[in-house]
Each structure stands twice: as C-alpha cells, then as structure tokens.
Symmetry: none
C-alpha cells in the first residue's frame, strides 16, 4: 500500500497551509511511496534551486533506514562516519536533519514518507507532521 | 521569469485531464523552472517506480540543450555518441525521446519545461503540449 | 532575469581591479545565472589548476540553498554532516567557505551568483562584493 | 606554456565577432590550459543551460586524447565503444563532435584548447579556428 496521489496532493496542501499560518519561508514538499519513489512534489515560489533534492533526501533517507530523519541526525552526531558511509552505500540522497517523516496508516502499515525543506529543520518537520495528520495518517519523526 | 507553482499545478491538472479523455496509461508529469529545477511533479497511481526520473530527464535534457526532446531523439538517431557524451557532460539526466517540451510565454521568454512519461512518447508529448496550452503558454517540441 | 554577459564581464573586471589594488593572489571569478549555469569565468595567470571548480562550487552552493557561502560555512561548523549530505544530494559542487555571493537587483529579484577563489576566503568574498557593487547590483554574503 | 588570460579574452572576443559576422546562434566559448583547466569562458545571452559543459567537453576531450574533437567524432563513428569507454576512463567530459580545437604556438608547443558550442558543430569549429588565428596561434581540428 502507498499514499495515493490524491492524498499526496491533500497532504502537500496541508503543509503549505501550515506554512502560511506560521509565516514560514517558501517550502518544498516531496511525497514518496514506500519504495522511495516520487508521488508528488511542490516547490513554493521563491524557494532556492535545490530544495527538491534536499527534501527528497530527507524522505529517502528516512525510508532507506526505517526511521525519521531526526533519528538520522542523532546518529550523525554520534557516528558521522556511519551516515557518510550509508549515504554512499545506498546510492542516493540521505539528508540527516529533521523534516523527513515516515508515514504509516492507523494499522501500522508503511505508506511512504514526506520530506520538507525551506525553513528551519524543526519547522520543516512540524509542517510535514501537520500535513500527514491532515489526511488521517500517522507520522514518525525519529 | 519562471512558471509559477500555481500555473504548474494547473498545467499538470490539464495533462491529467488530457490523459483521462484519451484513456492514456498513468502519467507522470514534471514541471521545471528555466534553470532545470523542479517546481512540481505528480505520478499517477499505477505508474512504475522511476517515471519521475524519466519525465525529469526529458524536460532537463530539453533545457540543457535548448530544444524539445523530440529534437534530441533525432540527434540520437544520427549521432548516438553525441547524446551519450552530452548526457555524461551535463552531469544530469537527459532522456532523448518525445515528451520533454520547452515552455515560453507569448513574448518568447523561456519559462521552463515540462516532462511527461507513462504512455507512448508521442502521447506523452501530446499531453504535455495540451497542458502547456491550457495555461496560455507556448510549447516547443523540437 | 539574469546577469547579462556584458555585466558579467564588467563584474569580473571589477573583481580583478580590486585584486590588483589590494595585491591579492591570482583570483578565479565565476558568474552564474539564477539556475546555477556558467555565464562567464576568468582564472588569472598563476592561479592553480582547480580554482574554477572551487569558485564555481561557492557560487553554486549559494544558489542551491539560497544563502551566501559564508552562511554555508556557519552551517558546516555546526552540522558538518548536513553540508556533506547536501553536497551529495544536490549532485553538484558546494564549497562552504566565504566567496560565494548571491546577486540581486535593486528590487530584490535574484540575478545569479558570483564565486571567487584564490586568496583568503575573506578576501575572495570582499572582491566578489566589490565586483557586484561595481555593476549596480546587490550582494548577499550570508 | 599556456594561453594567457589576456590572450584567452581576445580569443573569445574574436569568436564572438565571428559569430556576429556570420549570424550564428548564441555561442559558448571555453578556453583551457594544456592541463585541461579553465582559463576563461563566456556564454552569450540566450544560450541554453548546459552549453558550458558541452563546450568544455569538446576542448577537454581534445586535450585528453591529443586530437581535435573532429577526430574524436571520426573515432566515434568507427568505434563508439572506444569513445564511451574513454569518456568513462578519463573521469571527465569528452564530447566527440567538431568544435574542440587544440591550440599550439608557431613553434609547435601546446598552449591549450578551445571549445565552442551553440550552432552547428561545423560552425562551432569555424568560430573556434577564427578565434585561435586572431591571436596568432595555430588551430588543430582533427
């Protein structure tokens, strides 16, 4: 099972509504399926060039190791060489700061992940969590 | 100047409406700014894993060399080694089949590019063209 | 909108004039458009082999994340794993020391970025700032 | 010995004058030293995103194998697998179509190479040759 495109759209809308309410900087939101493949993405006007890649890397890192990207930051603080090695080993992006959040349904089945980038990492994560909850799904940040 | 996120959303909706009307397979649509950076993307339910990457590569190839991806296919037929070399040289994806379409405004200013993948390349291109026209912009396919 | 080639040439001339006035080591200057693509570059006689790549990486990193490369250095000091991950994720060069400066026009529209390398990072940045101001544009260093 | 920055500037000016006289599309010109490192580059307004990379790849390929890029095209026609393998082996760009021209002085000493991209490959090469001759140096196209 995966987040549907329809839900991904609603999820991103909720992220952007959260950003507006809290006056965040322009956000980029990426929704991935459980295999780490893009379902939907939006980069708000004014965001810098590579925000898609950073947001993707947060969500992809989360799915790659099965934890939210906040847990990857904790691991990077303790064992930076592990995160460097894992990034190389997985052959894709892994960005170990908050804002990459796993998505499960209410029965605990993995549905994908959301990555957000553009404001502080804490705010990016709060926006992702708000978006996931807005569609009745369950966020895991670490 | 770049396609705005709001226009990118409308453009993708029009692509998907075209796909529904013509009973196309699930499409993936990617909208890039003039610099080749993701503004928005949607992968319809049922599309295979790496359709984002293929659609991105069509649009990115178009922007990299300043022609629609149909022209890149013609070049690949004539000089496959050039396309292989260019792909390597640009350090990013370049997919030389139709479906990567340049987007200009009515005064000829480049606004970005659209990449579509999922059905035949010809149908992918037709969907991209329909989407671009739906928001009053001008497509260039070759 | 982007820095024009004509302005890029004047900007680089002003950087080199600054270097001469302040007796700096041979400088390499790179001017990028807002998408991170080379408009113009000059490496002064006597500069070492890879100065283009270093200067490019400062400017490209600035555009990728939307801050001057001095801010990237601050982030690297606090979270070296983030800068390492971002460098990998963006699929291009990112050099997190001063000398990569964002360029806006007087109305706040992004026009591109300038990267300078060859002397101390602080002097590289001072030269970039002088060059940007010489053509009536606005530098952002962090 | 290497082309000096002063000569590289004059060489690029002569390329652009040739382009104006012959009504070519916007050209990108790259001048490399004998080691394959950038001395100077200019991308004319309106050129597409990755023209620097293509022009660099022509000149770098020429220096890598010691022949003009027209000779690399001939080799690609005969042995495409060799050019593909060489591109991978050299760890850098090699674009095997005309427009990458070796530069010697009048005594036969290698001074660097010039790469041009933007119009047809034949016109790109003609512009490079005109630029090299304008500064009293000797072009080798194959």
């Amino acid at each position: 099972m995966s987040i549907t495109l329809d839900n991904a759209r609603k999820l991103i809308s909720a992220i952007e509504a959260f950003a507006a309410t809290h006056s965040l900087k322009p956000l980029t939101s990426v929704v991935l399926d459980p295999g780490g493949h893009v379902i939907a993405a939006e980069r708000q006007d004014g965001a810098s060039n590579k925000r898609f890649e950073i947001a993707f890397g947060k969500a992809n890192g989360a799915l790659s190791l099965g934890v939210g990207s906040r847990a990857l930051m904790a691991r990077a603080e303790q064992q930076p060489y592990f995160i460097a090695a894992a990034t190389s080993a997985i052959g894709g992006a892994l960005v170990p700061v908050p804002g990459g959040v796993l998505v499960h349904d209410s029965t605990g089945v993995l549905q994908g992940a959301v990555g957000v980038s553009g404001d502080t990492s804490d705010n990016d994560e709060a926006a992702a969590v708000a978006g996931i909850r807005a569609v009745g799904l369950v966020p895991t940040v670490d």
